[in-house]
């Protein structure tokens, strides 16, 4: 295969993988602290992307700001709004169901996802149509053979890596991170050590939802198009990625995200039959992986005692 073409495939896969990983990390964070699966996560991403778009439209009507400033404003507004939405979901839907079976949380968040998705469709002006997302990053590009290296893709990859590294630092090097890890490991002990359980859960949901907002904006900048259904598909893939990586493990989620993207890219590029089957291929491999390692590639460190 041509080197430029290979580079292009790798670039495509990395961009996809970064978005999947950011979504998967959210799933794994929520599962870590509360042992719940929050299925509305993908739709929070959609709402985040649309919030950013609305911010952009608002700024443009007010006629203020360069693209860099606009992007900064969009990031700030969308991330803060989604963090608040995440807190609200945790506070009013997830926490009250703490003592109910986990299935109830799964169902209630699944339904909330539909509510969010349909709300975007119905209440965003012409929300049923695909919306153009502004290209705010510099779009310089060089053609290296068949490889079209774009500056904006590079910036997004670097930003994604920085966000994930930041999250790692937060979890491993700060007092807040220590508290989150403590809650994830053992709620009772964490409480006796003076950790404010509810506050930590809310903060974790805020972080996870903020990541979704970031992924949503990245999605918009990458494809220059957003639509009300984008989160559903990303949510399913992010969830699958978190599972194959090992629910509860941040590294596992990242690994799972990139693995899934790689599978899809290989499925579309290397398999002899039509690309229509790339998702079938990727999910079939996921099924095989889960059958082989039911707890995921990287296991959460649990010491369950009876």
């Amino acid at each position: 295969m041509d080197a430029g073409l290979l580079a292009q495939y790798i670039m495509n896969g990395l961009m996809l993988g970064m978005m999947y990983a950011l979504v998967a990390v959210g799933f794994t964070l929520f599962f870590g602290v509360l042992d719940v699966i929050k299925f509305s996560h993908g739709d929070v991403l959609t709402v985040g992307a649309f919030t950013a778009l609305a911010t952009f439209v608002g700024l443009r009507t007010a006629d203020i700001g360069s693209s860099a400033l606009a992007l900064l404003a969009m990031l700030v507004v969308a991330i803060l709004a989604m963090a608040a939405l995440g807190v609200a979901i945790a506070r009013y839907l997830v926490l009250p169901l703490r003592s109910a079976p986990a299935l109830n949380t799964l169902l209630i968040t699944l339904m909330l996802g539909t509510v969010l998705r349909e709300a975007v469709r119905l209440f965003y002006p012409q929300g049923a149509n695909p919306k153009p997302f502004p290209a705010l990053l510099p779009s310089d590009s060089v053609d290296l053979g068949l490889f079209n290296l774009r500056l904006d893709n590079g910036i997004m990859l670097v930003a994604g890596v920085a966000v994930i590294a930041g999250l790692q630092a937060l979890l491993n090097r700060t007092k807040l991170g220590l508290a989150i890890r403590a809650v994830a490991q053992d709620e009772e002990t964490a409480r006796t050590m003076g950790v404010n359980f509810t506050a930590i859960v809310l903060v974790t949901f805020a972080i996870g939802s903020a990541l979704a907002a970031f992924a949503g904006i990245m999605n918009g900048l990458y494809y220059n198009e957003i639509n009300f259904g984008m989160g559903l598909y990303l949510g399913v893939i992010g969830f699958a990625a978190a599972i194959i990586g090992g629910l509860g493990s941040v590294y596992g989620a990242i690994l799972g995200g990139f693995l899934f993207a790689a599978l899809q890219t290989i499925g579309a590029a290397a398999l002899p039959f039509a690309s229509a089957y790339k998702d079938v291929f990727a999910f079939a491999v996921v099924i095989a992986l889960i059958a082989w390692r039911p707890t995921g590639l990287i296991q959460e460190k649990i010491s369950e005692r009876v």
């Binding site: 073409l5 049923a128 590009s141 220059n224 229509a276």
Partner: protein
């Protein structure tokens, strides 16, 4: 027995009383149906069609010469075959509904023809273009006012060949709609000597096309033919640009909607598209239709197929006026439709219920508008598509 007898007596008395009491002007109520995608990605087209059918009913009800008062029953097929079969069964099983204008999406229209046949409900398809809808079976119940994708793709292949393009890549969605387009375009192109370098089936809700487009980039075709609907059309065109692919984007009736241009902005420039019929304003009754439509102040524009939904509903209402609210009689009446004037031009149904007047309009997007090819600056040579000779 006594009880039943008395019920009948009361009923008969009530009927008699009501018919006596009713003023002479009161008309019998007749129900007619409409089915289209009112939610989901292509809902703008469904809502436009719904409004247009509603307009036909309102105008008829306002007409003092009409024999009946019509009520429009609207159901949503969500452009999903499984949902469509459910709502079609619901509508067909309701014996009060005499006839219906049905379906924008080919995948839903083809899924439901058997239902209409089984229940004997006469329908007029108002937007779906898959040939099989009328041609796979010979169902007397099923009619269609718009043309099919066979005609559309013949005109498409003809135009791109005339422009001197020789190499093509095909992307189509894997619904019946996309597969049909792939089939008929490939057939039509083969007769013109064009070469298809690669064919890619994609799912109808796919987000990422970079893997397919990267392969296409390596194949380096002059034209990318796209058989599918607006949502993924927008994504594919946007991602072509991201990968630096300069080929012509040659699409179908599925993208002829304002949503396509709004979704892409300047990137939509130079996209080719084809549609059965002519632009609403150029149709024989286009001006009349738009005036009446705007007067109703609907929330959505009629979109590309609104006029066809209007024509389909008009045809249904005309038939009911003529032969009365009876499904069988309406079916017999529809079989006789020949050279019938409508706002979309003459309508003649062949023995499959297909309108045989295949007016196809060629479009190119110029400055954010669908412009008829022959009127465009691309045809006059003032602007050029990528690689146009």
């Amino acid at each position: 027995m006594f009880v039943r007898g008395s019920t009948w007596t009361v009923l008969a008395a009530a009927l008699l009383a009501s018919s006596l009491a009713a003023p002479a002007a009161a008309k019998d109520k007749v129900k007619v149906g409409f089915i289209g995608p009112l939610t989901g990605g292509v809902s703008v087209n469904g809502l436009g069609g719904r409004n247009s059918a509603d307009l036909a009913v309102r105008l008829r009800n306002a007409d003092t010469k009409a024999k009946y008062e019509y009520e429009l029953i609207v159901l949503d097929d969500e452009c999903k075959p499984n949902v469509a079969v459910q709502v079609a069964t619901k509508m067909a099983a309701d014996k009060e509904i005499v006839a219906a204008a049905t379906h924008y999406c080919s995948s839903t229209a083809i899924a439901t023809v058997d239902v209409y046949h089984k229940f004997g409900l006469p329908v007029v398809v108002w937007g779906a273009v898959l040939p099989d809808i009328t041609y796979r079976n010979k169902y007397a119940e099923v009619h269609r006012v718009n043309g099919t994708m066979i005609n559309q793709n013949e005109v498409n292949a003809e135009l791109v060949s005339t422009l001197g393009y020789k190499t093509f890549a095909v992307i189509h969605d894997t619904t019946d709609y996309g597969k049909g387009h792939n089939q008929y375009f490939s057939q039509a192109l083969a007769t013109k000597g064009g070469r298809i370098l690669g064919t890619f089936g994609v799912t109808a809700d796919q987000q990422d096309f970079t893997a397919e487009l990267t392969q296409i980039k390596a194949l380096n075709p002059e034209v990318i033919y796209f058989g599918g609907l607006t949502p993924i059309g927008v994504r594919i065109r946007a991602q072509m640009d991201k990968l630096g692919i300069k080929a012509v984007f040659d699409a179908t009736s599925g993208v002829v909607s304002d949503a396509f241009i709004q979704g892409l902005g300047p990137l939509a420039e130079g996209t080719l598209a084809f549609r059965e019929g002519a632009p609403t304003e150029k149709l024989p009754g286009g001006k009349f239709f738009m005036e009446k439509y705007n007067a109703q102040k609907y929330d959505n524009p009629p979109e590309a197929y609104g006029a066809f939904a209007f024509a389909a509903m008009e045809l249904i209402l005309d038939s009911i006026e003529k032969v009365g609210p009876d499904r069988k009689k309406v079916i017999d009446e529809m079989a006789q439709v020949k050279d019938r004037d409508s706002i979309v031009g003459k309508i003649t149904f062949d023995d499959h219920g297909q309108n045989t007047v295949p007016v196809i309009t060629k479009y190119v997007i110029q400055d954010g508008k669908f412009v008829e090819w022959d009127d465009s600056e691309y045809a006059s040579g003032k602007r050029k598509l990528p690689g146009q000779k």
